[in-house]
Symmetry: C2
Subunit: 638 residues, 2 copies
């Protein structure tokens, strides 16, 4: 594991991947499936479509046709990059010489594909070498660069190998010569944000301030006037207004980022930009950027977020529409957008230490994100609807295959989301049986978590120390939890005085064998949406702990819109060990509108009769893995 | 008024237009607006787009671009024809020399446009004379012919002038030589049904059986194998499967009509076909055709009909989708489709005498159909949604302007829908203050209706006879009505023994001065949809008498989805004399979900608080005539 520069202004930094182990019944099987099946499966798909072969940069007929703005083939480099990044994360914890050789082969091919001046984009070099740096608005050129930078950093940190890192440093140096504020440079910035957050990783991996500065330039130049995308269009001889999305809100370039207060446009782009803004603020202490992030966060979470942790309701812009516009059956809620929210939340959490960011990180992760991949790790959702008439099916691949490798890299780096380390403190953000090793206050510490979370709210943390040490142990008290209790060496301690930023903060002189136990009550309960949300009117969603539930036809053999959950129904939780690897399911006595007495009437003046029926809900993240049928998150209530 | 052939197998025949007068507060102002404003306004529009000028058959660049299947400009002849038909109906009751001259000018131009062989289609002659009779599936060639036939019959019957009638007889003779079962003929039939029902009118106007026979051929040839549309495509060198709609269900040509039992495809086409089938059965006593009609009617009314009398939910095929698929906000429910349903219902009613057909005729007319035109007679809806987020606006004209002249011809001939005359009997189908003159049992009879229907259910019918006469007077007891009472010369008579086919049948020796009075209670009430209708779950619609209601933002200054009408709420009816010409509105004490206590939460575990609020509903037919805003037919209940 290579060193990275310290980030003194950041409240928490993650632990290195190899330091965190999952040994639980929830994550461990999922990580194993994605590691053992997903990595190989996705590489097969990248080979099948031709993305791997395209590294030779030979011009071929397009595999994916050009449409209006371009072709998704333009960002095959990014899909390969995310795969390299994911594989590297896996190698950091699970050495695998064959996989490492496969990754090395790709990095060698990428190195060979680099042009003499440092340029590296296999699509442009093969198909339109004269079009370099002419349409950043539409063509994902720096987006690909950003993902390759992330891959390079991951590969370097996992293996210590500098092949790709050096390639990408050269390319970034070229980009920084092309785009910048100086005379003779284009005052440009990414059309699809990504390079910014990657540059911050590159900065930390190399310790070179120029990458931090380049990131800061790209973030701050965004949305200024005269508008770069307009100038760029004029330089091409195009009408600046005549582009597919018609508004620079699409790429959050409608105004300078520090002046933004609404989450708008393409949801993934938005999340990647905000991630970079939060990271930059965490790195530099830039309070103005953090204030903008907090405004945007408030806008997202109070008006534009699905109860699943999904975001961006519309397919037309893959993004945001209007406040409270959260349609269920047509929800776009792209898997990548929710992954981007996890990235952003992590930067907000690490910068500020506020538990509410971890709350949403956890919620998006356990629900919308996980719904994007099957338990076996090889079937995916791109859109994540909250209601299905039964025609939705998971797919093996997509014409725009951004989500599968994005899922893979997030899951393969999950350890970085679970713990945080600060000055004299350790924070536990996510609960999962397993262990973490780190150094704090001069002691080597191993934390042993024992828990059946998320199915049960009891968490035991046993400490193993090389020598007694005084530090603060912070345990997240989830926002969904009421009545949490803390025990230190079996002694209940009052929680209220310990609560700080959503964490129970236990400062002590710790020694080996000490145990902290958390009891997080997680009764199943209903959630109601704000009355402004038209799509959810008269309906409830079911949640237990961090897990959001849904009804599926497989468990409820009735048209789901005919089912009613009475307002005060008792909701029972039950472990279903055979359900897709085991899960807690919910049951409640509900009602069903009877159809037997309608006698060929389509409309009548008396209400439907109601029959008792047991409603059965499963975790939303598990839907569409059994026989196809209807699904519904929001359940009628009365 | 010209004679028409008697139709002995038909239960009822309509009265001639000049014999029926509306002097009420509901229809009379609407008919006046459409007569005095609508006729002139629509002609201006037809001139503005160039449809009138196109009668000179000079090739010009297309005014409406060709798209895939063709251009709506292909059926400008039909729009002109419907205008001529409507103007002729108006002339039948309200002589107007200027209008008559305008109509005569058009008929003269149509006569001049007829080709030496009888062919008459201004689009084909001007733009693609070599493409005659080559693509009946897509190109509306006989559809235009059918509308011109209807116009010719109306013009002839209103004015006695044979100009257009003779033109159209020659053209129909040409069509009947091209299409038919004999050697050397194409075994073809219309792509867009219309000619069939027009031929039946032509048969009655001329008394020539050949037109009845041609109609029968067209109806019965439809959907047979080998499939005409496929053969026609092969003859053009096209792939028969490669057409826009992909299925012959689109034009109800997927199987022979006598074997059909589901209403499918393009809704207007379906209604026009079924109208012809019912008319043909009424004319000939063909029980097989009537059985098919009854199956199709049952399918429509028990599974595929909006509560407004709208039909055809989908824009993609302008037609039918799946059973119980009745989305509200995206409802297509084309005005023409509901007009077509009125046509079909009238034929079913006249053929069988069953009041249930008049019930739906009335319902579609008062609700979906009337919603298609503003009270002033010059703003229209093509689609008739049942829920609007507020962006829907009435328009002046449409790229496919089929609906405005269709509305106009229906309204200008409304008298034909109000009464029926049978052997020794008179039936009153629709109630409206006014009078009707006819002969029955050797006596000249004038019926004087006095009523404030549809706002009030009291109807008085006074008889004026040239001499006493014995006949049956049938008064429709609407299906929505419970507890109807009948009084003959102020004596209450038991209704049950009189009820026959949905009509109170009063056989008597009638004399001048006799009065029959009906009391039709019309309390406002809720309607519930069959539980299989997903879009209406947990909601109610409001109806009073034949009038269906909706909530509009203009009267309810809240997001409409936040409003709840409790199940047993008292619904009050109140006359609002200033509302768009006067209407009965409904009010009820309901509830509104409060937003004041949500404190920036998007989701929470307690239900919204409810505040009392008065709900105000207006007739659906009147919506979108005031300040724009939300609209909702289906109201949440609890």
């Amino acid at each position: 594991m290579a060193d990275s520069v310290p980030s003194p202004r950041r409240r928490y930094r993650p632990l290195p991947l190899g330091a965190v182990g999952f040994e639980d019944q929830f994550w461990a099987p999922r990580l194993r499936a994605n590691r053992q099946r997903g990595i190989a499966f996705q590489f097969e798909q990248l080979e099948r479509i031709g993305a791997v072969q395209a590294l030779d940069q030979q011009p071929r007929p397009l595999a994916i046709p050009w449409r209006g703005w371009g072709t998704t083939q333009m960002f095959w480099d990014s899909d390969l990059a995310k795969w390299i990044e994911a594989a590297s994360y896996s190698l950091a914890t699970y050495p695998d010489p064959a996989l490492e050789a496969q990754v090395d082969d790709l990095t060698a091919k990428l190195a060979a594909a680099q042009q003499p001046d440092g340029y590296l984009n296999t699509f442009f070099t093969a198909h339109m070498p004269d079009k370099r740096f002419t349409n950043e608005r539409d063509w994902h050129e720096t987006y690909c660069a950003g993902h390759l930078v992330e891959a390079a950093v991951a590969h370097f940190e996992a293996t210590g190998k500098r092949t790709l890192l050096e390639v990408m440093e050269r390319y970034v140096d070229l980009l920084a010569s092309v785009y910048g504020p100086s005379e003779g440079q284009k005052r440009g910035y990414p059309g699809h944000e990504e390079l910014e957050l990657a540059l911050l990783k590159l900065y930390r991996a190399t310790g070179k301030p120029k990458y931090l500065e380049f990131a800061r330039y790209l973030v701050d130049e965004r949305g200024r006037q005269p508008h770069f995308f307009d100038l760029e269009a004029l330089a091409r001889g195009d009408d600046p207004a005549a582009f597919f999305q018609k508004t620079h809100e699409y790429s959050q370039a409608h105004r300078p980022v520090r002046e933004q207060d609404k989450v708008v446009g393409h949801a993934v782009r938005a999340m990647y930009l905000y991630t970079a803004m939060a990271d930059l603020s965490g790195e530099t202490g830039d309070a103005g950027l953090m204030a903008a992030c907090e405004r945007l966060w408030a806008d997202l979470t109070t008006r534009r977020l699905y109860v699943t942790g999904g975001l961006g309701p519309s397919a037309s812009n893959e993004g945001f529409t209007a406040d409270y516009d959260l349609p269920n059956e047509t929800a776009y809620a792209e898997t990548c957008a929710s992954i981007g929210l996890v990235f952003w939340a992590r930067q907000m959490l690490e910068a500020t230490g506020q538990g509410r960011y971890a709350d949403l990180l956890e919620h998006a992760l356990y629900n919308n994100v996980l719904a994007g991949v099957s338990p076996a790790g090889d079937r995916y959702f791109y859109e994540n609807v909250l209601q299905s008439a039964g025609a939705d099916r998971r797919w093996e691949w997509h014409v725009c295959p951004c989500c599968p490798p994005n899922l893979l890299r997030l899951l393969m780096s999950l350890g970085q989301y679970a713990y945080g380390q600060g000055e004299g403190e350790i924070a536990v953000h996510l609960y999962a049986e397993g262990r973490a090793r780190l150094e704090v206050a001069g002691s080597a510490v191993t934390l042993h978590q024992t828990t059946r979370y998320p199915w049960d709210g009891s968490v035991s943390l046993k400490l193993e120390l090389s020598q007694p040490a005084a530090f603060t142990l912070r345990l997240r008290i989830p926002g969904w939890c009421e009545g949490a209790r803390v025990f230190v060496n079996d002694v209940g301690v009052a929680l209220a005085p310990l609560l700080e930023d959503g964490y129970a903060s236990l400062h002590a002189q710790w020694k080996s064998g000490d145990e902290v136990r958390l009891e997080l009550p997680m009764p199943a309960h209903c959630l109601y949406a704000h009355p402004a949300v038209r799509a959810d009117a008269g309906q409830v969603a079911l949640q237990r702990g961090p897990i959001l539930y849904c009804l599926e036809a497989a468990d409820n053999p009735y048209p789901l819109h005919q089912l009613i959950l009475p307002e005060n129904a008792e909701i029972r939780a039950r472990l279903a060990p055979d359900l897709l690897g085991g899960a807690v399911v919910l049951e409640a006595e509900g009602l069903r509108e009877a159809t037997s007495d309608w006698n060929q009437q389509l409309y009548r003046s008396s209400p439907p009769k109601l029959e008792p029926v047991t409603l059965r809900a499963v975790p939303y993240s598990l839907w569409a893995n059994r026989e196809p049928g209807e699904m519904r998150v929001w359940i009628r209530t009365a």
